[in-house]
Symmetry: C2
DNA sequence: TTGACATGTGACTAGAAGGTCACATATTGT
DNA sequence: ACAATATGTGACCTTCTAGTCACATGTCAA
């Protein structure tokens, strides 16, 4: 399986995206901590974290019996650059920012 | 199915990403034109285009008996902003650009 | 050292997704 | 009109994936 395929497949699952959301708020979390926020069993969460790690979206560091998980934004940026060039980026990001502002004030 | 789920599911398939790549180079293509570049049958391509359209990654316009397909970068940018804030974006994009430059000169 | 804690592995099952086909509708040009 | 072209629908099968469980290894603290 190719590198980018791993990334996209990893992002395809809502549970895995939720895990990235949690790590986006604060990373360095353990499996047990991440599991406690979900209804799923520990094994399910472990499988998901493994998929994220193999995709490079999450990097880990072992600390004793714990395994700490960190978010890696690089694959996300590469994904972005695949279909949004530097020129288009200005327009799109401006448009998106405007849309967000309008939604906030409403 | 939620909006972002549709987007991520749509991006999960390599054929659909290839279709986006083709539309990134030049959009306004018809189903038949896109099919001619793939080994798959027309029905497979049609299914994929439908998934992309429902996700909002592709917008269409009918012109007589033809249906023209256009790339919409907005969902990609929203995906990006979910895990890369404005501050992190500077570091990550600089890092990615540097990496690309190094790969080009090698 | 021994019990509690944190993580890891392989097998299994139910459901989702990719791809094809027979069949159908709508539009164009001669 | 009519034949060729372009797109659309529903059923079907096969393959992939999410989730669980029994079982196992490694680490900490008293």
């Amino acid at each position: 399986m190719s590198d980018d395929d791993l990334v996209f497949k990893a992002l395809a699952d809502p549970t895995r995206r939720h895990l990235l959301d949690r790590l986006f708020v604060r990373d360095g979390r353990t499996l047990t901590e991440l599991e406690s926020e979900l209804t799923m069993t520990r094994f399910g969460v472990m499988k998901h974290l493994r998929v994220l790690e193999e995709a490079g979206l999450v990097v880990t560091r072992k600390s004793g019996r714990e395994k700490l998980h960190f978010l890696n934004p690089v694959p996300i940026r590469l994904l972005h650059d695949r279909w949004i060039d530097k020129y288009t980026e200005r327009h799109v990001s401006a448009l998106v920012d405007l849309k967000k502002e309008l939604e906030e004030t409403s």
